[in-house]
């Protein structure tokens, strides 16, 4: 194995050989390797946030016709480090009557729940933390842990507004998990496995083409899961001071911040892996590192779209948000699963081209119908009662009389 073909595995193999040469037991070697792997992955993810914060500030600044951070280092790239230093040294204020364990555990769980997703993501054809055969459900389960973090934060702070906000946030999180689960079911159906690596490998045709509406649902609901614009009711920066994390300060608050950015990036990763073919691309099989690049590019595109949305869309009202979820996305996802299941059986997987066409058409039809229903429902609400119209069969349209 050459370094240039698959550097990550090369390093892994080298390390392994090194450890074994020290005379460690094979079990211990595995353990240490896992420890290193996990540590490196999580640390990289955490450090990535520093870059992401800078990137996002810069980009949003550009969108808003500002410069963004521009003082420290080239293009202000060290701004975040300065911020980090500041936040590291700020005082941790624990509010009166806070529930110590819950209060302190909440930020840890929030970050941990996002980091844990990284354990199952296939970065290249050969590098995947663990090719877990219930991977898709693992993602959802980890999401459930994130909810616990929010609840703990809200409850631990001993503040009624934090509590209220936490419950609003939890309502949002759990609501949007429903269409997400359903949207994820469609790739699983096509693949016949819940392992993320298998999902990526199955994507000879990207699932975004086979199931565009499912991809859209997944995208929308994952943005809602992150709680970014237009779903940032949890924070509502321009209206409220903050949400469930109002009583936090210093790095404990910083951790929620980190979790937010990391989560936003993680869902981009997931979207790229689940619907955009992950690391797949020309030559990615032979040169796994190339796959890493493809994956990073795809993720960047998705993340960029997320930032654009954040910069351009107004915020939903909470009832609109709930309506969107329960009265639009969830029924749509259910119907989509049903329709895709039937269509997939009628057009077998062997006829890939036909299947693609059929699926595209089906998605188009369903989306158009859903859109139409949605529009009609909305306009029906607004519609003023009209007088009954005459019937064409018996009544000729009256000729317009200019003298009238």
């Amino acid at each position: 194995m050459s370094f240039w073909i698959d550097p990550i595995n090369f390093v892994i193999a080298w390390l392994k050989g090194l450890l074994e040469s020290w005379g460690l037991q094979p079990g211990l070697v595995t353990f240490v390797m896992y420890l290193i792997g996990a540590f490196v992955t999580t640390l990289l993810a955490m450090l990535l946030v520093v870059f992401l914060i800078w990137l996002e500030r810069k980009l949003i600044g550009r969108v808003q016709d500002r410069l963004g951070p521009n003082r420290l280092g080239p293009w202000g790239i060290f701004q975040t480090f300065a911020d980090m230093l500041k936040i590291f040294t700020k005082e941790h204020i624990t509010p009166d009557g806070a529930d110590g364990v819950a209060y302190n555990l909440a930020p840890v769980i929030s970050v941990g729940a996002v980091l844990m997703v990284w354990a199952v993501i296939p970065f290249t054809a050969t590098v995947v933390g663990v090719d877990f055969n219930a991977g898709v459900l693992y993602l959802m389960a980890v999401g459930a842990l994130g909810e616990m973090g929010v609840i703990l934060a809200g409850w631990g702070s001993n503040n009624k507004y934090a509590m209220l906000a936490a419950f609003r946030a939890v309502a949002q999180l759990i609501s949007y998990e429903v269409p997400m689960v359903l949207a994820l079911m469609i790739p699983v159906m096509f693949t016949g496995s819940m392992s993320l690596q298998a999902l990526v490998k199955e994507q000879d045709i990207w699932f975004i083409f086979l199931a565009p509406v499912a991809a859209l649902i997944f995208f929308i609901s994952s943005i809602a899961e992150v709680g970014r614009t237009p779903f940032d009711l949890v924070e509502s920066e321009s209206e409220l001071v903050s949400g469930f994390n109002i009583e936090y300060s210093g790095l404990k608050f910083g951790m929620f911040y980190v979790a937010d950015f990391l989560h936003a990036f993680t869902i981009s990763l997931l979207f790229a892996a689940l619907y955009l073919g992950g690391w797949r691309g020309p030559g990615a099989e032979q040169y796994p590192m190339l796959g890493f690049v493809y994956f990073a590019l795809k993720t960047a595109v998705v993340y960029f779209i997320g930032i654009l949305m954040r910069a351009s869309l107004p915020r939903f009202r909470i009832d609109q948000m709930m309506d969107l979820n329960w009265k639009y996305l969830t029924p749509l996802a259910l119907v989509l699963v049903a329709a895709t299941a039937v269509a997939g059986k009628i057009v077998p997987a062997e006829m890939a081209g036909l299947r693609l066409v059929v699926m595209l058409a089906l998605n188009g039809i369903i989306f158009a119908a859903a859109d139409r229903l949605m529009t009609r429902r909305r306009s029906a609400r607004r519609q003023v009662a009209q007088a009954p119209r005459p019937v064409a069969h018996y009544v000729q349209p009256a000729p317009t009389d200019p003298g009238d």
Binding site: N133, A134, M140, A141, A144, M148, M194
Partner: protein, 174 residues
């Protein structure tokens, strides 16, 4: 000699049981709910040790994600009982305790009389359960299609009943 796995089992079991005890004895109901979450995590780990990845993950997803959340929400909704003054167990708590201990002893006695009690070889392989086979069995007309459909009917019934109960009748009419 205790292997690593066995040690992990013991630690996990102790944590789980401790959490369970806290669930039934915590003063604050919210604490009880949070301990319940921990106990459920322990059970999920136990599932994993038993070789069922699917149900291990599902345990976290459904029990912690949904049922625990539901319980916490319900606690919040009935909250005047939350600042729980006084004992949280009934006065005659020793009687259930005796019964329960008796039950436990009885169970252990009965179980230890079972021939396979010390069984330590598994039939499940390293790859864990086969979710695909489970899926096939669930929709196989000669398999479990009836439980499958009845489960959906059960969920529907639960949903309808719970919504009916939980929403205020005066406001709920439409």
């Amino acid at each position: 000699m205790i292997t690593g796995l066995q040690a992990f089992f013991l630690v996990n079991a102790l944590i789980t049981l401790f959490a369970a005890v806290k669930v039934v004895s915590s003063r604050k109901l919210v604490h009880a709910a949070l301990w319940l979450v921990l106990a459920l995590m322990g059970v999920a780990a136990t599932f994993a040790m038993l070789g069922s990845r699917f149900f291990s993950v599902i345990q976290v997803f459904v029990y912690i994600g949904a049922i625990a959340t539901l319980i916490i929400v319900a606690v919040m909704l009935t909250r005047n009982s939350m600042e729980d003054v006084g004992p949280q167990v009934n006065r005659g708590w020793w009687l259930p305790l005796v019964v329960v201990v008796l039950l436990f002893v009885g169970l252990v006695v009965v179980l230890s009389g079972w021939g396979d009690f010390g069984l330590s070889t598994r039939t499940v392989g390293a790859e864990g359960e086969n979710v695909m086979e489970l899926g096939k069995a669930l929709v196989d007309p000669n398999g479990f299609v009836l439980p499958f459909e009845i489960a959906s009917a059960l969920l529907l019934g639960a949903m309808v009943a719970a919504i009916y109960l939980a929403t205020d009748r005066k406001e709920g009419k439409r």
